[in-house]
Amino acid sequence: MRMSEWLTTHLEKNDDHRNLGYPFGFMDEGAKREIRRAVLKAVAIPGYQVPYGSREMPIARGWGTGGLQITLSLVTPEDVLKVIDQGCDDSVNAVNIKTFVAKVAGIPVTTDTVMASLIQTRHRIPEEPMSRDQILVLQVPYPEALREVEPSEAETRRMHAEADYARMWLYLYEDIVRFGEITISYRYPVTVNGRYIMDPSPIPRWDVPKLHRAETLFLFGAGREKRIYAVPPHTDVVPLEFEDHLFRVEDFSDKFCARCGATDTFLDEIIDSENGGRTYFCSDTGYCAKRSVS
């Protein structure tokens, strides 16, 4: 049975996770405990990738299973859940994950960042600042920030162990020599707590400063690559930059959201196929909807 079918049948039939034939939180307890231990070590060593035994989930690897496993291991009956996919609450993947977790934990969902206690996300950090009582779980496709410069896992592990990041810096330098600036648009490498270089997941540059000394705990789960890492609150997260080539975020000056009028959010560009005209909309749909109403 497909997950979408399963969800539809059970959503209509029952309103209670206990009647689904699955325990609270879906996964077996051994899996949850292993993930919990990995997350605790990840928090204690900010930016370091903890290996763990990623489990089979009812969605395919590469579709958010790393984030899903973290979410399921720490969800409580008191949580209010929000799930977004590239800022959007209503994309198929986000809705499926949201319905699934809500179902197996028996918890309410929301699209409002402020109302949520637990947010799982793919490739965006919400525009509204999050508090110390919230947790953001990020889905990660490629956890290794050094993979671009070194294909061997054994070698990148050695590089992290020795904080030998010369080749990463060289890569950025060569980028500048060739193109006049650092061309990485998403997965922008950062240094966490002055020690580990970390892949912040494919968030745009726009979101990178939100990781720096935040109020919130950020947990990163890579299900396919079997890695978990974390950025605790109030932790230094510094994008790699050179004195004469400073890190900068995307430039949206003179542009605004065609729906809510926002000039201070990350915008998606929509090209009209008829006349080639460009319009812009907020990538964070929950925030945009909230602004449009008020």
Binding site: P23, G25, G30, R36, L40, A42, V43, L217, P232, H234
Partner: protein, 187 residues
């Protein structure tokens, strides 16, 4: 709500873990744990983390070792191999230096020490904490932990990212944490 015993335990594990995770991400802050029974507090607390995949060692009260084995199926191992060390009287009696601190390749393969102390939030030992999870600087007061034990903890965490992460549980069922990433001082 009409939950089975197993369901009740599963949900309680989720709630316990959430408090431990919150404590670990906010070093030095003290958090009450819901539903923690007075007698088996440490057993209840660690049920969400320990199972047959983990090795543990108890320093102090042997009754706790029995209870933990029974509750979690975790293996009793020597202190030097243990993933979890439970110091039932707030002291590892000098064993701290021989515990697993991980390797530079795998610093996560290191011990977590759970100190059972008299009280958190007040007491005769005052610590200052800075580092990830702490906004500027914070203070943690404890009762029932020797200052020498704390100095040893600071010593074994001098070679970051190698180190040992500490959890504290007091008699009132409250927890606090000092992960290895925290820089500490005695006032």
């Amino acid at each position: 709500m009409n939950l089975t015993l197993n369901e009740t335990r599963i949900i309680r594990d989720h709630r316990m873990y959430r408090v431990i995770l919150t404590a670990m991400s906010h070093p030095g802050s003290v958090f009450p744990v819901p539903e923690l029974a007075d007698t088996d507090a440490v057993t209840d607390l660690l049920g969400c983390l320990m199972d047959s995949e983990t090795g543990f060692s108890v320093i102090g009260d042997h009754e706790t070792a029995r209870a933990l084995s029974h509750r979690t199926s975790a293996r009793q191992v020597s202190e030097t191999e243990a993933d979890f060390i439970i110091a039932t009287r707030g002291s590892t009696r000098g064993a701290l230096r021989s515990l697993k601190r991980g390797t530079l390749e795998y610093p996560d393969q290191s011990a977590t020490v759970v100190y059972q102390v008299e009280a958190l939030g007040y007491g005769d030992l005052s610590l200052t904490l800075t580092g990830p999870g702490v906004d500027g600087e914070t203070e943690l007061q404890l009762m029932g932990m020797d200052v020498n034990e704390f100095r040893q903890l600071r010593d074994v965490n001098a070679e970051y990212p190698l180190g040992i992460d500490a959890l504290f549980l007091d008699r009132a069922g409250r927890v606090a944490a000092i992960p290895r990433s925290t820089q500490t001082g005695v006032i």
